[in-house]
Amino acid sequence: MNATASPAGASKIDWPAAIHRQFKSWDVRQVAHVPDAGHKRLIELCQADNAIAVVPLTTEEEGVALLAGAALGGQRGALLMQSSGVGNCVNMLSLPRVCRLPLLMVVTMRGEWGEFNPWQVPMGRNTEAVLELCNVLCFRADSPAEVEPTLEAAARMAFEGPQATAVLLAQKLIGAKSFVK
């Protein structure tokens, strides 16, 4: 279930560590997540970091609300999910919009590149459009080298805006999931 195949081949760039490094440089203190295999290593890096409260969620919109509360209390956060979770967030995204609160989302894409599961395709193909409709600025990273600068750009616009932003980590970057071991 965890086997992945990256079309780009093995990369020397440790992009989950790059995201964690950006979290540190932006003083991110709460990381909420509904996991995807693509976020596995980043979640582990955050869990090993005593300065970050890692909050597992039952559904993604909890994370939008959680990070609004964090911002009210003076802490920065990030919300990790896969693209299917974006649909769960739609109404809750009114909160950062109406209250002008920062929100940084990091979304692993499914359903866009070599996806084996057709049930992932409808939301995956509409993720960016849905986010833009909800006033969330999207930034895509298609290769390992793009991840850190993309994260930095999105974090800057989220926290210095304040504004809701999302980094979309392409399925091409993560590797298409397969159930073949």
């Binding site: 203190r29 709460q30 409260a53 909050v55 597992p56 969620l57 039952t58 559904t59 919109e61 909890e62 994370g63 939008v64 609300a65 959680l66 990070l67 609004a68 509360g69 964090a70 911002a71 009210l72 209390g73 003076g74 802490q75 956060g77 109404n91 809750m92 009114s94 909160l95 109406v98 209250c99 002008r100 609160l101």
Partner: protein, 199 residues
Amino acid sequence: MTQHLQRAAAYPLRRRAVVKRLLDGRPELLVVAGLGAPAWDCTAAGDRDLTFPLWGAMGGAVSIGLGLALAQPSRRVLVITGDGEMLMGIGSLATVAVKAPANLAIVVLDNERYGETGGQATHTSGPAELSALARAAGIARSSVVSDDVARAAAMPALFDQPGPVFLTVKVRAEDLPLVLPPKDGTELRTRFRRALGMT
């Protein structure tokens, strides 16, 4: 169902008096008020900068309280919300239990109906009981009260016991005058943060 709806019309506890008892004399408390009647109740008790009343984001009140509690561990955070709002975000109770913030308390004012939309029955007018759900989610300090003696006995734990603490207050279903908080989200956010010493 009609029988169950009539049940709440006879509950002795009145929501405005309950909320006033929660908020009076506690200017330091950080409050998140769920949309609809709980937000009006909090405003009726006295609009305050450190109350963040919601006009939307249904199902998010407890999660907002959790993020706030994690960010402000030295301050007591109280979420005051309704049964319909709590049911929509019921999974957030399991998330609260996982993080177990010692400074978070949650009060649900349960009138067993959606009061803002025509009084339709919520699931709590039937077999669902929120404090049992909270306990099953992992919040051990969880109870339900339906009269003033029990209310008075349960209330101190919201403020002086290690959280998370969850309390359902069964309140009378009644139509009350609207007492509305500011509606501008940026104003609510700015005044809250300023009162906490932030810009």
